[in-house]
């Protein structure tokens, strides 16, 4: 309990419970079994983006990927366009993931090779990608995705959406193991904590970050595939606002904006909190404006809380005999 990161987890669980209680008070429909499936329907897309954003932030720099939502829109359109042009859908999905990786590589090139601050580099590509998504389609969606493909995001197994079982949960577990049990994870934390020390002890800091930006692009592709399966159409604005939401989730989950601190479990809890809040407000028929305000307050509040935790950690480090 004395560990600030554990305290953070307790705080997040408390927040999740509070969101559930608020949901139950706001709407009589909230405390029903069907709500679980309905709620989890929204989790995977936002969740995987939040996980990718967490990794980019963890590796430090400071790292951030503002283009992640735009990449998602663009990949979704690419897959739908390829399918319309006669490419088999599954092959189109694979190509889509490659495109996502390449779009991520552009970010990686700007940030890790050209040493452009990540905020500026990915802001520029956000412009370029979201503009391309709109311009190439003239703003209209591409439809015609067959019904069988809809199973991924519309089907349920034991009342829980299939993309929850097959994509989000496995990815979260895999990333958790990677971060806590493998050398790559150690290197990511090291790079985020002290870039120079990590470099001097042999971590290829910039190569690692390069890979993580590419990974974020691929994950944006995964999110695009799930959205495609969900709506059976690709919209040019599918990823709008996702960049900010994914940053909010990563930060709320305890990932430090300058890297080095954070856990996958925190991000997962944060996704659940944000989604519960959105669903509760939606069920209670409360204006979307309050959702935005609540997300804004959560974002700022969680960083303030975060800084307090960091302060405490530093104070303890000073007290400890070295």
């Amino acid at each position: 309990m004395r560990d600030p990161l554990t305290q953070r987890m307790v705080f997040l669980v408390g927040l999740l419970l509070a969101a559930c209680v608020a949901g139950a008070l706001l709407s009589p429909h909230f405390l029903q079994a069907s709500t679980v499936g309905f709620l989890l329907q929204y989790v995977p897309v936002l969740g995987v983006l939040g996980l990718a954003q967490t990794l980019v932030m963890l590796s430090g720099g400071p790292g951030i990927d503002l283009s992640i939502g735009a990449t998602m829109s663009l990949v979704g359109l690419a897959i739908a366009a390829l399918f319309t042009a006669g490419v088999p859908l599954l092959l189109a999905c694979v190509i889509g993931l490659v495109i996502g990786g390449l779009l991520g590589a552009v970010n990686a090139f700007l940030v890790c090779v050209m040493q452009v601050p990540s905020l500026m580099g990915t802001l520029a590509t956000y412009f370029a990608y979201s503009g391309l998504a709109l311009a190439l389609t003239g703003g209209s969606p591409i439809g015609g995705i067959p019904d069988w493909f809809g199973t991924l995001a519309q089907g349920r197994f034991l009342g829980i959406p299939i993309h929850m079982w097959t994509v989000f949960v496995p990815l979260a577990i895999a990333l958790h193991i990677m971060l806590s049990r493998t050398q790559i994870g150690t290197h990511i934390y090291a790079a985020g904590n002290d870039e120079r020390a990590a470099f001097l002890s042999g971590v290829k800091v910039w190569r690692l970050r390069f890979a993580l930006y590419c990974f974020a692009g691929v994950i944006a592709g995964v999110a695009a595939i799930m959205t495609l399966s969900w709506f059976q159409a690709a919209r040019p604005d599918a990823g709008d606002g996702m960049e900010l939401l994914s940053v909010t989730i990563a930060v709320l989950g305890g990932a430090h904006i300058f890297g080095g601190i954070g856990r996958i479990s925190g991000t997962v809890l944060a996704v659940l909190i944000v989604t519960t809040m959105q669903v509760a407000l939606q069920l209670a028929n409360i204006s979307q404006a309050w959702q935005l305000a609540a997300i804004g307050l959560l974002l700022i509040g969680s960083v303030v809380a975060d800084n307090a935790v960091a302060e405490k950690l530093r104070a303890r480090a000073r007290r400890a005999p070295s």
């Binding site: 050209m114 452009v116 905020l119 703003g139 909010t248 904006i257 404006a289 305000a293 700022i300």
Partner: protein, 316 residues
């Protein structure tokens, strides 16, 4: 830096931008005879006024080492308050005061969060952006405010001695900002904080106070932009201000400001604004869909960032 015989003259960012603007004008003029007409140039100018005003403040904030992605939200909230004030029959001067003070207060709120809680500016202003948009929705209720009076329209649409009033507005704002930044102790403090915040604190500069003031100034400029926006269009849309922050940051970076703080140029920023607005206008005139303009701005930004990085690498 040792001077090499192959590069006797340093062009500087402003010179480069001027050259780029000239090239752009030649290209667009060769494709559309309407482009260089007096009427079209006036249209470009009118469309640039609100962005230009905001960019003066954004330059100061970026020199300070900060960033504000919530300016669009500030413009939106100020505009919607102005619209409501008009609907209650408030006279012009009260409307203007409301617009400016609302902007300044929201800006000061950003500054206070950033300075007092040490939340990184990008995160803090992302958060307040959500909050401002929420306020906009709550006040506007999803319906446009339209048919506002045109008593302030001369600020954008009028002419003095054949020169559009917008020129005077931009001139006044930039002259004020330049004097503030380059000729007052306050401006020196801003540059000092942008170069090295820790040292600035150590030499006794009241960093927090200066930050709050700077963000309040940007907020006030956003309030002015809201007044100009309403003067120009006489309505408040639901999606007002969505792209302003990104355009403002793009123009400022194009103009030579360094996102890491300490470096920036008001003249460069103004040229950056012109560059963006000329491109948007020119693309439409030569028949390219306006949907391409974000692609062009994003692409330009990528190119400029890469060029900056190459330049930095060569000088090191």
């Amino acid at each position: 830096m040792p001077s090499t015989p192959s590069r006797p003259l340093k062009l500087g960012r402003e010179g480069l931008l001027l050259a780029a603007l000239a090239v752009l004008c030649v290209v667009f003029a060769s494709q559309s005879e309407f482009f260089l007409s007096e009427r079209n140039l006036t249209v470009i100018l009118r469309n640039s006024v609100d962005l230009a005003v905001i960019c003066a403040g954004m330059t100061i904030i970026i020199i300070l080492g900060g960033i504000d992605v919530s300016v669009g939200g500030i413009v939106a909230v100020s505009a919607v308050l102005i619209g409501r004030a008009y609907q209650y029959g408030a006279p012009d001067w009260i409307v203007v005061v409301i617009g400016l003070s609302a902007g300044a207060m929201l800006g000061a709120m950003n500054g206070a969060i950033i300075a007092k809680t040490r939340v990184p500016p990008i995160v803090a202003t992302l958060g307040t952006m959500y909050i401002f948009i929420a306020i906009l929705f709550l006040v506007i209720g999803g319906v446009w405010i339209s048919g506002l009076p045109n008593t302030l329209s001369f600020l954008v649409l009028g002419e003095y001695f054949g020169i559009p009033v917008g020129v005077f507005v931009i001139g006044a704002i930039y002259a004020f900002s330049w004097v503030l930044l380059r000729r007052t102790p306050w401006g020196q403090r801003v540059v000092a904080i942008g170069c090295d915040e820790v040292s600035a604190r150590l030499v006794g500069i009241r960093v927090d106070r200066t930050k709050i003031q700077a963000y309040a100034l940007l907020g006030m400029f956003a309030g002015i932009a809201a007044v100009l926006y309403i003067a120009r269009l006489r309505n408040v849309e639901v999606n007002i201000g969505t792209n302003i922050a990104l355009e403002a940051i793009a123009a400022t970076i194009l103009g030579g400001a360094n996102i890491r703080g300490g470096v920036g140029s008001l003249i460069g920023t103004l040229l950056g604004v012109l560059f963006i607005k000329l491109t948007q206008n020119g693309l439409v005139l030569i028949g390219v869909s306006s949907l391409w303009e974000t692609v062009v701005i994003g692409g330009l930004l990528v190119i400029v960032l890469v060029l900056d990085a190459l330049e930095k690498r060569r000088t090191e």
